[in-house]
C-alpha cells in the first residue's frame, strides 16, 4: 500500500505528532512575572535605601526602604498563591538545598522580606533606629541576590529559551530591577532629591537593553520565542518603554511631570519584560523544534557526517 509522504515541516526535525518533548512551566500570570518585577524592585530599592541613607537623601532613603519592604512582602504573597498547595508554603523552608535555586531563593527572599520589613517599620515608627539601620545594611547583601537569583530560577530548567540564556538573564534582570527601583524613586520623591534615582533608572535601562540585545543575538534558534507572537510583542514593548523611559529620566530633572512619565514608562517596561520572558519560556517549551533541533545537531556533529543515512532522515509522522 502506498501512502502520501508527510510534508516536511518548515524546520527540519522529527517529532511525535508535533507534540512538545518537555512540559511547559505551569507558573501563572500575573503571579510569577509580577513577582519577578517586585523581587527586582525590592532588591534594587534596598541598595538605594543604603546609599541614600549615607549620602544625605533622607526622603529617597525612606521611600526606598518602604518600597523594598512592600515589594518583597507582596512578592512572597504572590508566590504563595502560585503554589498548588498554598497551605504548605512553609515547606519551602523545610531544608536548605543548594541544588535548588527555588530553595536558595526562598531563603534569600525570607531574609530580604524580614530585614526590609524591619528597616521600613523602624523608619516609619522611629523605634529602634539602630536596628533599622543594621537591617537596611544587611539588605545590601540580600537585595542584589533577590533581584538576580530569579534569573537562575528560570534558567535552571529544561526550557531552551531560558536555560540557554543563563549568562545574559541575570544582567537583564539586574538592569530591569535597577530601572524599576529608579522609577519608584522618581515617582515618589521630589525631583530635587531624586537625582540619584534618575541615574539608577537610566543605568538600569541601559543594562537591561544591552543584555536583551546580546541575549537575542547569541541565542539563535533558542532565542526565537523572544521575537515571535505575544512574547515578541511584549519584549518589543518593553524595549520601547524602557528606552523611552530612560530618555525621559535623563531630562526629568527639569520638571515633575517628566519624572512621573518616566517612572510610569520604566515600570510598564519592566513588567512587559517579565511577562515577555515567561511567555517566551512557554512557547519555547511547547514547540518541540526548540528542544529537538539543537540536541539533534549536537549528536550529528559528534557522530560525523557519514552517520546519518538519508533514508533515516525522512519525516516519520503519518501522512
Amino acid at each position: 500500500m502506498k501512502r502520501e509522504r508527510a510534508v516536511v515541516p518548515e524546520a527540519e526535525f522529527r517529532s511525535y505528532y508535533g507534540r512538545p518533548v518537555i512540559k511547559a512551566p505551569i507558573w501563572h500570570e500575573p503571579h510569577m512575572p509580577t513577582y519577578l518585577y517586585l523581587g527586582g524592585m525590592s532588591g534594587a530599592s534596598s541598595v538605594m535605601a543604603i546609599m541614600a541613607r549615607y549620602t544625605g537623601h533622607p526622603t529617597l532613603a525612606r521611600t526606598a526602604r518602604i518600597a523594598a519592604a512592600v515589594g518583597s512582602a507582596a512578592g512572597a504573597g504572590l508566590l504563595a498563591a502560585e503554589l498548588g498547595r498554598p497551605e504548605r508554603f512553609l515547606n519551602m523552608l523545610r531544608l536548605f538545598k543548594p541544588t535548588s535555586p527555588m530553595s536558595v531563593g526562598s531563603w534569600i527572599l525570607a531574609a530580604q522580606g524580614g530585614l526590609s520589613a524591619l528597616a521600613a517599620s523602624s523608619e516609619l515608627t522611629g523605634i529602634l533606629p539602630l536596628a533599622g539601620d543594621a537591617a537596611v545594611l544587611a539588605t545590601g547583601l540580600t537585595g542584589p541576590l533577590t533581584a538576580t537569583y530569579t534569573a537562575v530560577l528560570v534558567a535552571d530548567t529544561a526550557v531552551p529559551a531560558w536555560h540557554e540564556a543563563y549568562r545574559e538573564l541575570p544582567f537583564l534582570f539586574a538592569g530591569s530591577a535597577l530601572a524599576s527601583a529608579g522609577a519608584v524613586g522618581m515617582l515618589a520623591v521630589p525631583r530635587a532629591e531624586a537625582a540619584p534615582a534618575r541615574v539608577v533608572a537610566v543605568t538600569g535601562a541601559a543594562v537591561e537593553t544591552v543584555a536583551g540585545v546580546v541575549m537575542e543575538r547569541r541565542l539563535g534558534l533558542a532565542g526565537e520565542p523572544y521575537r515571535l507572537g505575544r512574547a515578541g510583542r511584549l519584549m518589543r514593548a518593553a524595549r520601547v518603554l524602557t528606552v523611552g523611559g530612560a530618555a525621559l529620566a535623563a531630562v526629568a530633572g527639569r520638571g515633575r511631570a517628566l519624572g512621573v512619565l518616566s517612572g510610569l514608562a520604566l515600570t510598564a517596561g519592566a513588567l512587559c519584560t517579565r511577562f515577555g520572558i515567561l511567555e517566551a519560556g512557554r512557547v519555547s517549551a511547547a514547540d518541540p523544534k526548540y528542544t529537538v533541533t539543537p540536541q539533534r545537531q549536537r549528536l550529528d556533529a559528534l557522530a560525523g557526517p557519514s552517520a546519518a543515512s538519508p533514508a533515516e532522515r525522512q519525516p516519520a509522522n503519518p501522512a
Binding site: 517529532s15 512540559k23 527555588m102 537625582a195 525522512q314
Partner: protein, 263 residues
C-alpha cells in the same frame, strides 16, 4: 542500599496493548485522562503526565525498503511504552525545594505526596517532560517504579502485566547486559536501525534507570535525542548571577556617589 533497579523497555516486541497503562492506573489508583480522542493513531493518552505514568506511543511509518533489487515503500508500526527515566542525575530531584522528591534505596526517584507543596519547579526542569502537576490536587506526580510493590518484593505493575516482556524489570546492570545482547541479535538479523536509548552512564543525565531499545530516532517517539540535566550548568549560572548582583550594587553606589559629586 539495595541494588539499583530499573526498566528495560524493548520496543521491538511491544504490541501496543496498553496493558502497562491499565495496570499502572489500577495499582496506583490514578485518575482517568479525560477520554480524549487524540487522532494520533491508537494513542489516546498523548504523553506522560501527572496521571499517566506509562504512555504507549503509536507511530505509523512508510519507509523505502530494498526488495528484490528495487526500492519499495513499506509501512510499519512502531509502538513504545514510555515511562519516567529515573535518571542518575535527576533534574526534578535536584530542583525540588521541599525535599518531596527523593532517591529511594532502589536508586529510583519518587515524590512524597505528603511533602510536595505544588511549587511546580520540577515540571519544566525534567528534560523528558515526564512529571506534571495535577490540576485539582495541586501536587506533582510521576512514576514511582512501584516503590510500594518493590518494598514488598514484587515487580512493578506495568512489567508484571506486559504480555510480551517488552517491559523488563530487574537490577540495572543485568538489564544493560540483556539489552546489549538483544541489540547485537537484532543487528545480526539486519535490523541496523535498532539502538539503545538512555543506557549509557556517559549521557547527559548520567544514564537512565529506565532505558529503551528503539527502532528509530528518539525524537520520533517524542523523546529528546540528547537530554542534559539542567543543573549541570548550575555553578556557572550562579557565577553569572553573582556577577550581576555585584554589578547591581556597584551601579547604585556609583549613581549616588556621582550625584553627590555633581551637587
Amino acid at each position: 542500599m539495595a541494588e539499583r533497579m530499573g526498566f528495560f523497555t524493548d520496543t521491538s516486541v511491544c504490541i501496543g496493548c496498553k496493558a502497562c497503562e491499565v495496570a499502572c492506573k489500577e495499582w496506583n489508583e490514578l485518575p482517568d485522562d479525560g477520554f480524549v480522542f487524540e487522532a494520533t493513531s491508537y494513542d489516546n493518552t498523548g504523553a506522560l503526565g501527572a496521571s499517566t505514568w506509562r504512555h504507549v506511543a503509536f507511530i505509523e511509518q512508510t519507509r523505502a525498503v530494498r526488495v528484490d533489487g528495487h526500492e519499495e515503500d513499506v509501512d510499519r508500526w512502531l509502538m513504545s511504552s514510555d515511562v519516567c527515566k529515573h535518571c542518575t542525575h535527576a533534574a526534578c530531584l535536584d530542583v525540588c525545594p521541599t525535599g518531596a522528591l527523593f532517591r529511594t534505596e532502589f536508586d529510583t526517584v519518587v515524590v512524597q505526596p505528603d511533602v510536595c507543596n505544588g511549587c511546580g519547579y520540577c515540571v519544566p526542569a525534567c528534560p523528558y517532560g515526564v512529571i506534571d502537576r495535577r490540576q485539582d490536587d495541586g501536587r506533582a506526580w510521576k512514576c514511582t517504579m512501584c516503590y510500594d510493590r518493590q518494598l514488598g518484593g514484587l515487580e512493578p505493575a506495568c512489567a508484571k502485566a506486559c504480555p510480551t516482556d517488552s517491559i523488563q524489570f530487574g537490577p540495572l546492570d543485568e538489564l544493560r547486559e540483556r539489552a546489549a545482547a538483544r541489540l547485537a541479535g537484532l543487528h545480526a538479523d539486519g535490523h541496523t536501525e535498532a539502538r539503545l536509548y538512555g543506557e549509557s552512564p556517559d549521557d547527559g543525565v548520567g544514564g537512565a534507570g529506565a532505558f529503551f531499545l528503539l527502532l528509530d530516532e528518539p525524537e520520533v517517539y517524542g523523546l529528546p535525542p540528547d537530554p542534559v540535566v539542567t543543573t549541570r550548568d548550575l555553578p556557572s549560572m550562579w557565577r553569572w548571577a553573582g556577577a550581576a548582583a555585584v554589578s547591581l550594587a556597584g551601579a547604585v553606589a556609583v549613581a549616588f556617589l556621582e550625584s553627590r559629586v555633581r551637587r
